[in-house]
């Protein structure tokens, strides 16, 4: 779509629209507040969705691979309409997605769908745990820059 708009504008207009797109929008305070609020809403809807045992069981099932709606419904003693309603909640908050091929609707885990919650949990980790995580990152960084120190070479033998 961007390229189509660029082609329509042409010449100088093209350059101007490119510059506008490249501006770091995140630096604007109002947008940062908006992003924060949107994120809080996402955390809220994710926790709400997963607080329900049936929906959690569905996510657990889907994390092992895609499944049709009727497959997902099988373990539960409830109407298909209720199952579809649960799946809709999960899909609306981005935890799963579904597509209909022919007469079968297949659901799967949304890649990165749990990131919102994973980030939220990571941010709640205590200072000492975060430090040890950071130590791990630094050790991994130095792995890449220097392959082995003489001491390790000795130990490796």
């Amino acid at each position: 779509m961007a390229s189509a708009m660029g082609a329509m504008a042409g010449g100088e207009g093209d350059v101007a629209s490119t510059t506008l797109v490249k501006q770091p929008l995140d630096n604007r305070p109002s947008l940062m507040i908006l992003n924060y609020m949107l994120n809080q809403l996402a955390v809220d809807s994710n926790f709400r969705a997963l607080a329900e045992p049936t929906r959690r069981a569905m996510v657990e099932r889907l994390s092992r691979g895609p499944a049709s709606v009727s497959d997902l419904a099988r373990p539960f003693d409830m109407s298909l309409a209720a199952i579809v309603q649960h799946l809709k909640v999960l899909e609306e908050c981005g935890l799963i997605r579904s597509e209909k091929v022919g007469r079968v609707r297949t659901c799967r885990i949304e890649t990165g769908g749990l990131n919102t919650l994973a980030d939220w949990v990571a941010e709640r980790r205590s200072l000492i745990e975060r430090r040890l995580d950071r130590l791990g990152e630094i050790l991994a960084e130095t792995d890449q820059s220097t392959k082995t120190t003489p001491n390790e070479a000795k130990e490796a033998k």
Binding site: I128, G136, E152
Partner: protein
């Protein structure tokens, strides 16, 4: 301390004793991990720097009898002051230390022992 029998104990204790243990496995050799606890520049990077940290002071002398002092704040929190003293250092295996921590009006005395095992 004059508490009559049956009266509920509602006051928060002034001193809380606690012990906890964190186990973490790094894929690197113990020598590498030990180095990250011993080298001033590296310690500074993982302990008091990073997103959300504001560092005001950092001194570090890593040896038995040496000490570490840092003043920093994290996110919007109060200034935290850490004063550590290294009691015993066994290269590549164990670091015993004691430290005092002041955070706003709270004070903590910690006795961390880092043990490195393969």
């Amino acid at each position: 301390m004059s508490r009559t029998a049956g009266e509920p104990l509602t006051d928060q204790p002034a001193v809380i004793h606690d012990t906890f243990r964190i186990e973490k496995t790094y894929p690197q050799y113990p020598a590498r991990v030990f180095h990250a606890f011993a080298d001033k520049g590296t310690v500074r990077r993982w302990r008091v720097e990073g997103d959300g940290f504001k560092l005001h002071e950092f001194t570090f002398d890593f040896c038995a009898g040496g000490s570490e002092a840092s003043r920093f704040s994290y996110m919007d929190g109060p200034e935290i002051r850490l004063d550590s003293h290294f009691h015993d250092v066994a290269p590549n295996s164990r670091i015993d230390s004691a430290r005092g921590r002041e955070e706003g009006c709270r004070g903590l005395l910690e006795k961390p022992a880092a043990e490195l095992r393969r």
